[in-house]
Amino acid sequence: MNNSLPPSLLLTFRPEGLSRFFPLLQTGVMVEAEVGSSVRDFLLTLPGVDSAYIDGRIKTVFLNGKVVDDVETAFLDDGSILALSAAMPGLAGAALRRGGGLASFRSQITFPAREKPGPRRKGFVLIKLYNLILKELGVIFLRRGIFLASAALAKFFKGQSEEFWVNLKTALVNGAGKDAKELLQMNWAGLHETMELKVDFDI
């Protein structure tokens, strides 16, 4: 077990490469967060995200798989799983919407509001992004940095087609330049069990 800080991998891509990261973001990635903060406060730390965006755009929120009606009284714990989506179609989509008119349809899976959060401190939460939110916040989280198990990172690289590598402009591992071939051949697990991945796009 290596307790040192995870190594960082900084990638720069052409904008066309963004969608290749969507599968990762759908299944979930770890990000740093101030645990003990509300979902709203956490989202407000993201560049470009304001209350109007949270209330107007992020209409469906899950915390640990339960439906959140009030982002003020849903607090993050270390290891929490937070999933974000826009408004969804269908009867179920309407029922899952936060504070929606059909909330009673799913009261058994509603996240219970908490009045007192735990103390605020640095921690990690697993973020899952869906649909319109995936496109809009995906770039922000990738730029800010996500944390991945080294094995997952290796699998991610191995699963990519030629198109992915064509869109890669630069790669730095702890500041040292690498090319596509080196990224594919690198023994990531030997470096550390976790990697911090930051991705920038020419957008």
Binding site: F22, D69, A95, L102, Y130
Partner: protein
């Protein structure tokens, strides 16, 4: 749309068509009209495949006009699957073309006295009914190719595949889309079997020389339609989410909620969900040269459909919808989108309900006919249905029959119709609708339509669990109205959130027909449709015991939230107390 076309398939000397005034059916359209005709003219105790049953095909009240998204067609009969009344509706071109030809409905009656298979051709000059046995057992795709050769690329078709000819209770009726592909199906309830029993393979609709239906007040109608279109375009669901990802945008979200029925309703989450999600599907479609955004009929501004290509970039099928992806995906633990798209293609070709078939394949896996997750085996099971083998005929008879044949206890059906893609233990209000709908388990029977605006039965606090009965009632009433207008149900989201968009819909109806309907009239219309449907079902032998979910939903808790269905029977019995 001031006449009804009746075709007596059992007339002396061969099938005969006649036209009649609307009479008592004036002012009705879509589901309102199909359910009225079936309720009044079909003996509730008749055999669904007998001469006494009638197949009623009706465009909505606003179909054939410039009203955006008014292209749904309702198909009604006594269902061979449920034994009760059925209205199943579809998109595609048929509603608009039939309405422009001036028909409020086509009613297929009687049964042919011979073994011929018939083709019905309707155009501005009238109706022709011809025996054409060269069409026998053709798949919908080959059938439409032949029709295209004979009648050109502009006609719309309503047809059945081999499943309908075999009178299987999972058989659908296909309607062609804008590209003249047979991809839009009135899927539920075995309506295709009734068309097969009438001996009709295809109805060809040619509206050449016909014009858009004129509104009574053209200016007001045009203005209301403008507000209507703006409302649909500006709403994030109808203007962004659905166009970008289609209905399959729900897979990830319902999975996260723990409400995605997996491995025949054992679990609420599917590990492979992200591999078959709408987000992934849209990426694949775009990368292969298909389309992630596409309308199913002219005049659709939501465009929630798409075009799915195979790995070589050739057309395979239309974008499989959420329900299809779920039934063949999570329910069968298959995470291969290409395999699911192939099953969608085959089922469209054979003319089968994709929900009923997907659920049935999952049950076949439960019975040991294939392993869960085995995509190739699943495709082969669908092919058995197309071939009409003894096994295929069992599977093509749907989930309830397959469950019975293989001695399964956990069979997810209500009124013998397979449950759609939301586990009623996680989202219990949907369970109320599944249980009590006149149609059998049906996610579209109680849609998120204007319930808050109409407030049928009073205000409901959305955050209190006890509001579910009232909300389900409101939704079922509102949905019956929308189904009568020919409107796509996806308009629901814009009308739910934007009062001006709902008002524009009412204004369009009023301007078109010269009426002054208010909210109360709309509610009364919905209630009257449901009342007539309930009455038919009662006479057909349905009781309160039929308004129940299968027992295992009350007993088996659903991971990850470990919930059971808790709505009491007496509450279910109060849904239609008005």
């Amino acid at each position: 749309m001031d006449k009804i076309l009746r075709i007596d398939m059992g007339a002396k000397g061969g099938p005969k068509a006649s036209e009649a005034e609307l009479g008592d059916y004036a002012g009705m359209g879509g589901r309102g009209l199909t359910s009225a005709i079936v309720s009044r003219e079909v003996p509730p105790l008749c055999h669904p495949l007998s001469a006494d049953n009638k197949l009623v095909i009706a465009p909505g009240l606003l179909s054939g006009t410039i009203a955006a998204n008014s292209g749904r067609i309702s198909i009604g009969c006594k269902s061979p699957l449920t034994g009760g009344i059925k209205e199943s509706n579809a998109g595609g071109q048929a509603a608009q073309v039939l309405a422009r030809l001036g028909y409020a409905a086509i009613v297929l009656e009687g049964e042919p006295g011979d073994d011929n298979l018939y083709k019905v051709v309707i155009n501005k000059d009238g109706v022709k009914i011809e025996a054409d046995n060269s069409l026998k057992m053709l798949g919908n795709y080959d059938l439409i190719d032949k029709i295209k050769e004979a009648y050109g690329e502009k006609v719309a078709c309503i047809s059945i595949g081999p499943a309908g000819e075999m009178k299987l209770t999972a058989a659908s009726i296909a309607c062609t889309d804008m590209e003249q592909r047979p991809t839009r199906h009135a899927g539920r309830g075995g309506v295709g079997a009734v068309m097969g029993a009438k001996g009709v393979k295809v109805i060809v609709l040619d509206d050449a020389g016909m014009k858009m239906r004129p509104p009574k007040d053209p200016e007001k109608f045009k203005e209301a339609n403008k507000v209507w279109v703006e409302g649909l375009r500006k709403h994030p669901v109808t203007g962004e989410g659905l166009p970008a990802y289609g209905t399959n945008v729900l897979t990830n979200v319902v999975n996260e909620a723990g409400a995605l029925p997996t491995r025949n309703f054992r679990f609420g989450r599917f590990e492979g969900a992200s591999k078959v999600s709408g987000e992934t599907e849209a990426e694949i479609e775009t990368a292969r040269g298909g389309m992630a955004t596409h309308g199913c009929h002219a005049g659709c501004v939501i465009r929630c459909s798409g075009v799915y290509h195979d790995k070589d970039g050739h057309y395979m099928t239309k974008q499989p919808e959420y329900e299809t992806i779920w039934a063949h995906g999570a329910h069968c633990e298959i995470d291969d989108l290409d395999a699911i798209a192939m099953m969608d293609r085959l089922e469209d070709d054979y003319g089968l309900d994709t929900i009923e078939m997907g659920v049935t394949i999952g049950l076949a896996m439960e019975a040991g006919l294939a392993e869960f997750g085995d995509a190739e085996a699943a495709i082969n099971l669908v092919k058995e249905v197309g071939k009409g083998t003894p096994l295929g005929r069992v599977l093509g008879s749907g989930a309830a029959v397959t469950g019975q044949v293989y001695g399964l206890e956990k069979v997810p059906v209500v009124k013998k119709q397979a449950l759609p893609a939301y586990d009623p233990r996680a989202v219990q209000g949907i369970g109320v609708t599944y249980a009590t709908s006149t149609m059998g388990a049906d996610h579209t029977a109680g849609y998120a339509v204007t319930a808050n605006v109409l407030q049928v039965g009073g205000n409901v606090d959305p955050l209190k669990p006890e509001g579910q009965i009232e909300l389900s009632r409101n939704l079922q009433v509102a949905t019956a109205v929308i189904d009568s207008l020919g409107m796509c149900l996806f308009i629901a989201f814009a009308t739910l959130d934007q009062p001006e968009t709902f008002q524009a819909l009412v204004d369009m109806v009023n301007a078109f027909y010269g009426l002054s309907l208010n909210d109360e009239d709309v509610v009364d219309l919905g209630k009257s449709i449901l009342t007539s449907e309930r009455e038919f079902n009662k006479k057909a032998g349905f009781t309160a015991a039929d308004d129940r979910l299968p027992e295992f939903f009350k007993k088996d808790s659903l991971p990850p939230h470990n919930v059971t269905f808790e709505v009491k029977d007496e509450e279910l019995d109060s849904v239609f107390n008005w």
